[in-house]
């Protein structure tokens, strides 16, 4: 039976795309800002109103522990258990990150920095993002 052009094209396309996925992943790693200045620049894009958002969990010890649990589940793989950064992911204890307001951090968590490898965490409910920020702010 004669093989159709589609029969040849699709496996070839699959192979090329698989390679592209690996290359894109590697390129994204390299594109990531390896110092906190890149993150600072991304955080600086937060709208002015976001800077003034108040953390509803500020000073709440239970929220801090909950934030730590979320950090371990979602962030530690890239930023490290101690949040000092690993590979290309930034040190979250760095002054540039710690000097950001809670509102800027929660805005950044929601939006991510997709082109530089930081995913958007909009899938986490807002309350959970604030809990993560509560924990991050405790690392100062």
């Amino acid at each position: 039976m004669r093989k159709t052009p589609v029969g040849f094209l699709i496996p070839a396309l699959l192979f090329v795309a698989s390679l592209a996925a690996v290359v894109a992943g590697a390129a994204a790693d390299k594109n990531e800002e390896t110092d906190s200045r890149g993150v600072l620049m991304a955080i600086a894009k937060a709208p002015a109103k976001a800077r003034d958002w108040k953390n509803p969990y500020e000073g709440n010890a239970e929220a801090l522990l909950a934030g730590k649990k979320l950090y371990v589940q979602h962030c530690a793989e890239c930023h490290g258990e101690n949040a000092r950064g690993m590979r290309n992911a930034v040190n979250l204890r760095a002054p540039d990150v710690q000097n950001a307001t809670p509102g800027e951090l929660v805005w950044f968590l929601r939006n991510g920095n997709l082109f530089h490898g930081m995913p958007s965490w909009s899938g986490l409910p807002e309350q959970r993002r604030w809990q993560v920020v509560t924990y991050l702010k405790s690392l100062r």
């Binding site: 159709t4 589609v6 699709i10 396309l13 699959l14 795309a17 592209a20 996925a21 690996v22 894109a24 992943g25 590697a26 994204a28 790693d29 239970e62 929220a63 522990l65 909950a66 730590k68 649990k69 979320l70 589940q73 979602h74 793989e77 590979r87 929601r110 939006n111 991510g112 920095n113 997709l114 082109f115 490898g117 930081m118 995913p119 958007s120 965490w121 909009s122 899938g123 986490l124 409910p125 807002e126 309350q127 959970r128 809990q131």
Partner: protein
């Protein structure tokens, strides 16, 4: 092989895979909890985290008027190529009661987020290539004039039809106060001179508790997500319509364990005569974090 033995083997395989994945979740390190929405048909704008691989085993059981009931298991490998590109590979199969068990083909999909920021409505572009036989009964989407009577023929007949299809979706998705609301518009083209077929899927879901508790827990409300999906066909390019095709409503509940294992169950109900009266979907997934990095390390 006797047909009843084939069905029994399929059930046994299904059970074994669920046990294996559940065990893997308990013992494997480096597992993380994904933030995906747990729909079976609809898609949201939440992508796989970059470098993570999610392995998912899903099954669709359906009653069949004028034919034999069936179960259609499929396996998904979902990989986050970048933070804005998720690629996914599927292997489909099915077992029809009093008939046979067979592999029905593969699908390969890609989702792209064109906008780098969150908005009220977040678009995602979806492109999928399907290489399946006419015996594919996974019902991952309903398009055109798909209806339950497409499946009444025996597998020996259905498998003779070979489909090369291109499927596109415009995914629109929003998050509001813990709710995810997703609308998908589906356009599917059989590459063999068939007209474009259209369909839709809508999904709504929310965790039972929005904030988490400090303790690690398996059965607390924060680990459960409830929601519902509605999906169906919209006819073809020549005849856009809601009639003559099938429509479904399916509530769902997902249990997301802290060790990266998720279990989702969704009973579905046909809303018109063209639809299967009852569907039962269930799925088990396991998230492996840093998979891409580990693979790249092997070649360094």
């Amino acid at each position: 092989m006797p047909r009843s033995k084939g069905i029994a083997l399929t059930w046994l395989r299904t059970f074994l895979v669920i046990i294996l994945l559940a065990s893997a979740g308990a013992v494997l390190p480096n597992s993380v909890q994904a933030q995906d929405t747990r729909y079976f048909v609809a898609y949201s704008h939440h992508m796989e985290e970059p470098g993570n691989l999610e392995i998912e085993f899903d099954t669709n059981y359906a009653t069949q008027k004028g034919g034999n009931d069936f179960i259609a298991p499929w396996v998904e490998f979902e990989y986050g190529a970048t933070a804005w590109w998720t690629t996914e590979f599927y292997l489909d199969s099915q077992a029809t009661f009093n008939d046979s068990t067979l592999f029905t083909g593969f699908r390969w999909e890609n989702r792209f987020r064109p906008l780098m920021r969150e908005h009220w409505i977040n678009p995602v572009l979806y492109v999928e290539y399907e290489n399946t036989s006419g015996a594919d009964k996974t019902l991952k989407e309903v398009v055109g004039f798909d209806n339950q009577f497409d499946f009444t023929d025996p597998n020996s007949e259905l498998r003779k039809e070979h489909d090369h299809e291109l499927e596109t979706k415009l995914i629109l998705s929003s998050d509001y106060k813990g709710w995810n609301i997703s609308e998908n518009f589906i356009g599917e083209k059989n590459l063999g001179h068939e007209p474009w077929e259209f369909g839709y899927a809508i999904g709504v879901s929310r965790p039972l508790r929005l904030a988490v508790t400090p303790e690690r827990c398996n059965f607390c409300r924060e680990n459960f997500v409830v929601g519902a999906e509605m999906y169906g066909g919209l006819g073809t390019a020549k005849s856009l319509t809601l009639s003559g095709t099938s429509h479904y409503f399916a509530p769902l509940i997902a249990w997301e364990l802290p060790n990266g294992v998720s279990l989702t169950v969704s009973p579905g109900f046909g809303l018109n005569d063209e639809a299967h009266r009852f569907l039962l979907r269930w799925g088990l997934s396991y998230e492996i974090s840093g998979f891409g990095r580990k693979v790249r390390k092997l070649f360094q």
